[in-house]
Amino acid sequence: MNSLNFFNNLGYAWPETIITLFLAILVIYNLVYPQARRALGIISLLGIALALGFTIQQMWTQFPTDPSWLSGFTRMLIPDKIGIFFKVIILIATAYVVLFTEFSEELRGTFDRAGEYYALIFGMLLGMMFMISANNFILLYVSLELVSYSSYVLAGFMKTSERSSEASMKYIIYGGVASGIMLFGISLMFGMTGTFYYFDISRLLMMININSVLFLISGIMIFTGIGYKISSVPFHFWTPDVYEGAPTTITAYLSVASKAAGFAALIHLVRNCFVGAVATDGYWVMLSHFYWKELLVYLAILTMTVGNLTALWQDNLKRMLAYSSIAHAGYLLAAMSVLSNQGLIAMVVYFSVYLLMNLGAFFIVILIQNKTGSENIDDYNGLGTRMPFLGACLGIFLVSLTGLPPTAGFIGKLYLFLALVDAKMIILAIIALLNSVISLYYYIRVLRHMYLTKGNNESPITPSFGSVLIALSLAVPVLLFGIYFTPLIEWAKTVVLR
């Protein structure tokens, strides 16, 4: 391999390269100017913007359709558009989280470590980028660990806070075991196939018969790692605790970005390892070595139901949003379980929407937390009248999370159900629908506390201009896509078409 080839191959990983570069820049800059916190944010945004640019540029790059033709390290990457989509999602989420950090009061105590904060975010970002495009189990594992390590630290970033420290400890123990199980699964997979590459495994699966029980065990163990990232029941246990304890910005980040990376990894794993071909009607012809459909259907039902039911009982808004994010993972799994391009479209649409509404909800939670110092739902009493604009925004986000028109959340649900009904998975569709009814309880409960209950304090709260701008930038698309969703779907279509 000559160096020219290396740089040629780097073309597949420009965004990642840029992120690595900016990671280094951040670290160095912080060493040189330890006090310049604002600048770090700006540098981060710059880096993200650049990476985003390159990522979007990749949309128009022609990649070889069969990754096994690639040479060098690029063999480990799947340069497909679905991956690009998830990268875009992650980059946007990162940008927002960087912005949110500016508004977070609770992170104020850690501003002396802002350099580390941004560096860790970039590390996580880098990990997720590779996790998304991983075409190799080792890469998957390594990048997953990179994401995990960064997020362990970020979750415990407010180290003087008990909650944050505890979250971080639980996270690392849980994550360590989950990734350990995954690693063991990978090792079994390696033992059966002799390779780490998805496409090699796929090719092998088409030819040879593999002991199924072992294959099942291996598959489930590998899924454990991914399931833990996307917080699918029964691998979700860390989610509420960590979400509650972690700084809210990081919670938002985990709930969107790391979930996106997990789902992208899942999609790539399934699509590149276990799909024989795509039928003309969009359904995937599965290589019958692993019961993906059954597994995903069961887990989808479990995930959304457990998420929603438990969310009913939460008084802490962050914790409630944690369960809500579990429930949404359930919907996404349901879309995944269709195992078709339609399902993929539904996932893409849903995730685009989920990005907006979930980030939005967390942003408002952050802003409210700044004022009241609490995420407890009782402290939301009467906030709707005290801060009408932000209250309305939170209302929009929550309604969207419920999936009611005319918000984008409805479009996400619509496409999900379109895929499910098209696949004649009516029972799952009904369960999902009932779940969305249940979810109304706890989403509306927030609004109830904000608007229907009288608070002790009546003094109005005026949000800063910046926060209004950010909230608007999330709320307006949520409404807009709810009414006119052509661009959303067009994008999803481009993304899913290989």
């Binding site: 415990g156 420290s165 505890e166 400890m169 123990i173 360590g176 199980i181 063991f184 990978i186 509650e244």
Partner: protein, 113 residues
């Protein structure tokens, strides 16, 4: 007699199965350790056992399946990752000790339903 002979054959002819047995045991012991130990550091030890068991697998599969050096490389990476993880984990445990004054995992359950 066949049972005895298969068993003795098994015992005397070291093959992949032996290593897999060791790794399976290590894995299970690791998880058992994680699950049962109070002390956070000992929980981490359990995790190390899990990682080691996987590593044995990698190397053993590569050797018996003649898969080249991929297995060894994987083991190498895992060792490196384990080192990094331990560093972070210990930092976190130290922090826990600072805030909670103990490192008993079961007592750190403020975040719960």
């Amino acid at each position: 007699m066949t049972d005895m002979s298969t068993l003795s054959t098994f015992l005397t002819h070291i093959g992949l199965g032996h290593f897999l047995f060791i790794s399976g045991m290590l894995f299970s012991l690791g998880i058992y350790g994680v699950v049962t130990r109070k002390n956070a550091v000992m929980v981490l030890m359990g995790i190390e056992l899990i990682l080691n068991s996987a590593n044995i697998n990698f190397v053993a599969f590569a050797r018996y399946g003649n898969y080249g050096f991929h297995g060894q490389l994987a083991a190498l990476f895992v060792i490196i990752l384990a080192a990094a993880e331990s560093a972070i984990a210990l930092a976190i445990v130290l922090n826990i000790y600072k805030t909670f004054n103990n490192v008993n995992v079961d007592e750190i359950d403020k975040l719960r339903e």
